[in-house]
Each structure stands twice: as C-alpha cells, then as structure tokens.
Amino acid sequence: MLNRRPLSYYLLSTFFAAFLLFLYGPMICVYLLSFQGPEGGMSFPMRGFSLVWFETLFSAQGRGVGDLHNSFFRSIRLGLIVALLTMLIGVAAGMSFRRKYPGSNFVFYSAIASMVVPGIFVGFGISLTLRLLGLRPDWWYSGIGAQLTWSLPFAMLIMFIILGRLDKSYEEAATDLGASSAQRFQYVILPLILPGVIGIIMAGFTSSYEESARAGLNIGTGNTMPMELTGLLGAATTPVMFAVGTLTTLFMFSIVIATLLVSGSIAKRRQLRLTAH
C-alpha cells in the first residue's frame, strides 16, 4: 500500500487509548462499585448488584451520611452565585480591554498571574487578612470572594479569546449605523459572544463546585460538597461514597448536556429564522 499510516500514528493512537483508559477506567470502577451488593466492600469483587448504598444515602431525609444533603445545597447556592458574578465581571472586564487604556497590560497580567499562585495560600492569605481585620469568614462574602480569585482569571481568558476573534468592524458598523454603546453591546456584541458567555457561566459554576483549597478556610460554618466529601472519604468504610460519586457525576453531566442543549437551541433558532421563508 502506498499511503500506509506512519508508525507515529500507531504510537499516538496507543497513547491516546491509554489516556482514555486512565481517565475513565477509575471512574467506571467507582460507578460499578456504587451498585455493590449489601454484603460487598469498598473494592472488587462485586458481591451482587443492589441500590442499597443509594438508599442509605437518602435515608433519614438525606441525613444518612454525614451532612451531604446540606453541603450539596450549599455548593449549588455558592456555585450559582459565583457563576453569575464570574460572568458579569468577566464580560465587563473583557469588554474593557476592547480599547487600550493606560495600565491595561498591568491589569491583565496581574489578573492572570493569580492563576499560578497555589490556591491553598490564596485561601490562607484571605483568612489571615480577615482575622487581622477582626472579621468572621462567611460564605456570602469571603467564600464567594475566595472562589472568584480562581474563576475570574479563567473568565477573562475566555473573554479574551472570544473578543479577540470578534472583528472590530462589526462594532464600527454598528456605530456608523447610529448605535449607542449600549445598543452596540445589546444588539451586536452580546448575540455574537453568547455561546462564550454561556461557557463562562459553566466554567464559573464547575470551578466553584469542585473548589475547596481557597474557599475552605473562608466559607465559615457549614461545609461545601468537596469539603464534606474529603472528610467522609477519610473515614469511609462502605461503598456509600461511591454512590455519591455516581450521583455527582450524573448531576454534572446533566448540567453539561443542558448547556449544550441551550447553545444548540440558540444555533437552531438562528437556523430556523433562515428556513422560515
């Protein structure tokens, strides 16, 4: 054969297959073990199939295991607020860079540099500062603030990429046609960057939902999901934790799918408008 695939194709394919196995293999183990029979332990072999660990999880009005029920809702509440703030601040910050201003480079790099600072020190620093000021940490200000130090640089980077691809002449054309800056944003820029804005909300939510290094010391009383799980895993003796893993994954996947559906329907609505006539 003349156009045989080169050796590198097979090497890279093998590498990729190994990567997939490494990524999803352990997760599949967790999902399987969450259906462990009532007699089964935290490792293979499976001793029958059952939903008993899910039942345990939801027994006693969700107080079957630790404080998972409440910490889940705390995480959702925190995640939604962080996602919304990340979107608002990220989009505004991204827009501010559409025009160069004195010190814009400094603002950009100082925001991006915070990504390389280990989260645990950011969290510790915030908590230390609060103590110096005589403030008690609480989720609605220091918790949210600590997580924003993590999600905002990402939002800014995403905005930079999206806005960087947005042709400046769209804005000029809108101005030329009489648009005020608010109209320009509403009618031209926002519709064009909408998929990216949804992406920022998603990134904001997921980065908050799994974050504990920064929030941990600054959340006040009441654990969030990752903190509660870390605590429970250390003392776990039954597969009930695997059931948590399965449910959390399902939850996150449904969010991702919902996002894709929303983005898809935006695209479809645009498509429909063309075929309507």
Binding site: D176, L192, L274
Partner: protein
C-alpha cells in the same frame, strides 16, 4: 412576488435636515477637507495636511499604494478616526467632532461587516431598529433598499449563505438606508473575483448616479479609479499628489509618482529633462522627426486588441510600448531583439513645467 422593476430611487435621496445651511446659500461641495492631518501618538503623520473639495454628487476615488493614508482619510471622513488637525465639512457643515452617525456619512467596510447573526433584511433594517421604527415599517423600508441592490429575493438569507458579491449588495443597502449625503466605501471591490469586480463597479456607478449623492471610494486599482471617477485623488505618503478628473490625471499627471502609479506611462529622462509619454503613443520603429532610444525587448504580452511590449534601455531603464495587434502582427518583433524605441515630441508631457 411581483418585482417592482421601475423602482424609484428618487424616494431614497436624503431628506433636508435641520443643521443644513439656510436656503439661499449655495452648497457647492459635498465634502471639504481643510488642512486635515492625522498622527498617531505624536508620531509620523499618516495623513499630512490634506485639503480636498469634492463637488456635489461626484464619484470620487482615493487612489494610492497601501499605506498612503487613503483609508485613514476615509475613516476620518466617517468619524471612525479622530482628526489630529484641520476640519472636515460635509454639505458645508463642520463635522470634525461629530459622531459617525451624526455627520451625514455612511461607511461600507472592506469586509462588509454584515452582522452574522442577522438576516440580510434585519441587517438592512438595523439602523431603523435603533431608531425604534416599528417592525413592519422598518422591514418594508429595508425591502425597498434591497430592491435597489437587486437582493429582495435573498432578503431572508443569513450573511454566511450569501456570496461575496451578494454580501456587498446587502452592505450597500444597509448603508444607503441611513440616507447618507456621502457614502464612504473602503476598497469595496477588492474581495471580489475579477469578473464580479467589473460588474459591481458599474452597479456602484449606476446607484450613485440614480441617488445623486457623493460616493468616496478608496482603491489601489488605477483601472477602477479611472473607470468610475468624476474625480480621482492620487495619494502618496499621506499627501495628495494630484486631484482632478480621471482624464486630467491620466493625460496630465502632475509628477512622476502619479505618472508611474496611474500606469500606462513611460517616465523618461531624455536630454536632461524628465518627461512622461503614454505607452500607447510609443512605437518600436525609428521615428522621423521624433525621439529615438535604442532598447532591447524583454517580454511581449498579447492582450487581444493590444500588445504590450516591455523593453529595457542600455542603461537598464524599463520602458513599455502598447501597440495595436494589427500593427504588431504586421511585423512581429521578438524577445531579445534590439530595436529603436520612439515617440513624438508632441506626446511628451513635462509635468506642467
């Protein structure tokens, strides 16, 4: 749907608005630029004290090589670029500091800049939407303008579903619906293939004539400028080299830059003088009573009715003669042949000196 073939362009001519000069004063120029300069951050001047008057209802081309300041000049007229120094007047009103939408101009962008999320119709209706014109009315108005550019059948297509030429028509309609006194076009034909370019060129001229407004068209194509213009403005290094009718610029270039840039000219140093001679007035036979220069043929381009012969003199100066095919095939010379390049003294142009 019945297509209204007798579309009346007169309805689309700009209204007289407040801020116009009082009745009785004669508005002689559509555009005036008075000693306009542009420099970035105190650096070199991209546009250097240019003054220009464009008469009423003219087709004006700003012509020059890339980086000559022609696009900057256009963007200053549009208000998308601040004027560093000088004044810009549209219909006798000083608009130097006016907003882009408040100066009676409309700009058509090189990339067309059609909003990709809006249909052709919504793109054209965009400026009316900003003015809160009711939907039915603005769509009807937009349709009128799509008719003007013969795009009514594709009104509901998205920009991505339109060809380059169709996108351009939509962009034109979107600009014209704002009823500009002056339409500004930034290299409008450069993205089109050569066939479409010639077609759109005559279309632009037709629309300009029908509407009776001034078009200012930036181009680097000499052919385009000569074909379209009532007025050609040749620019180089941020300065105006020459402004005049197409014929003036072609027949009487004001300096060697214009003669070379406009094409079809030989700039020859002969007996201590620099003159330009149109290539179509030059011959490759010895001329009795004419100027004769020995030269060697370097290449021959057959162009149908005409044949272009490139030559080089003994002191390595390039020359060019354009002769009719009849004359060429009567006695065809060959590449590498040593010939006499000649012209008549009457055909010399000494740049007004």
């Amino acid at each position: 749907m019945k297509i209204d073939t007798e579309f009346n362009a007169k309805n689309l001519v700009p209204d007289t608005e407040a801020g116009e000069p009082a009745e009785g004063t004669v508005n002689r120029f559509d555009v005036e630029m008075v000693a306009v300069s542009k420099s970035y951050d105190g650096g070199a001047r991209a546009v250097d004290e240019i003054s220009l008057r464009i008469p009423k209802a003219s087709y004006c081309c700003l012509l020059g090589p890339s980086g000559c300041g022609k696009t900057t000049t256009l963007r200053m007229l549009a208000g998308h670029e601040d004027v560093t120094d000088g004044d810009v007047l549209i219909h006798d009103r000083n608009v130097t500091d006016a907003l882009p939408a408040g100066r009676g101009t409309s700009m058509m962008f090189q990339s067309y800049a059609l909003f990709p999320h809006l249909s052709a119709l919504d793109n054209v209706a965009f400026s009316l939407k900003l003015k809160k014109v009711p939907k039915a009315e603005r769509q009807a108005r937009a349709m009128e303008f799509l008719k003007l550019v013969q795009m009514e059948e594709l009104a509901h297509r998205m920009p991505a579903q339109l060809s380059g030429g169709q996108q351009q028509r939509v962009a034109l309609a979107r600009s014209l619906i704002t009823r500009p006194k002056v339409l500004l076009l930034d290299e409008p034909l450069s993205a089109l293939d050569p066939f479409l370019r010639v077609l759109m060129r005559s279309e632009l001229k037709r629309i300009q004539t029908e509407l009776g407004i001034t078009f200012v068209h930036v181009t680097h194509s000499q052919e385009e400028a000569l074909a379209l213009s009532d007025m050609v403005v040749v620019m180089n290094n941020g300065k105006i080299m020459q402004a005049g009718t197409a014929r003036e610029v072609f027949e009487k270039p004001s300096n060697t830059f214009v003669a070379r840039f406009i094409g079809g000219h030989n700039v020859i140093e002969f007996e201590g003088r620099t003159v330009s001679v149109r290539a179509d007035k030059c011959r490759i036979v010895e001329a009795v009573g004419g100027r004769n220069l020995p030269a060697t043929i370097t290449s021959i381009e057959y162009q149908g009715p005409l044949v272009r012969i490139n030559l080089v003199t003994d002191d390595r100066k390039d020359l060019c003669a354009v002769i009719s095919d009849t004359r060429f095939f009567a006695d065809p010379p060959e590449v590498g042949e040593a010939v006499i390049f000649s012209w008549m003294p009457d055909d010399e142009w000494a740049f007004g000196a």
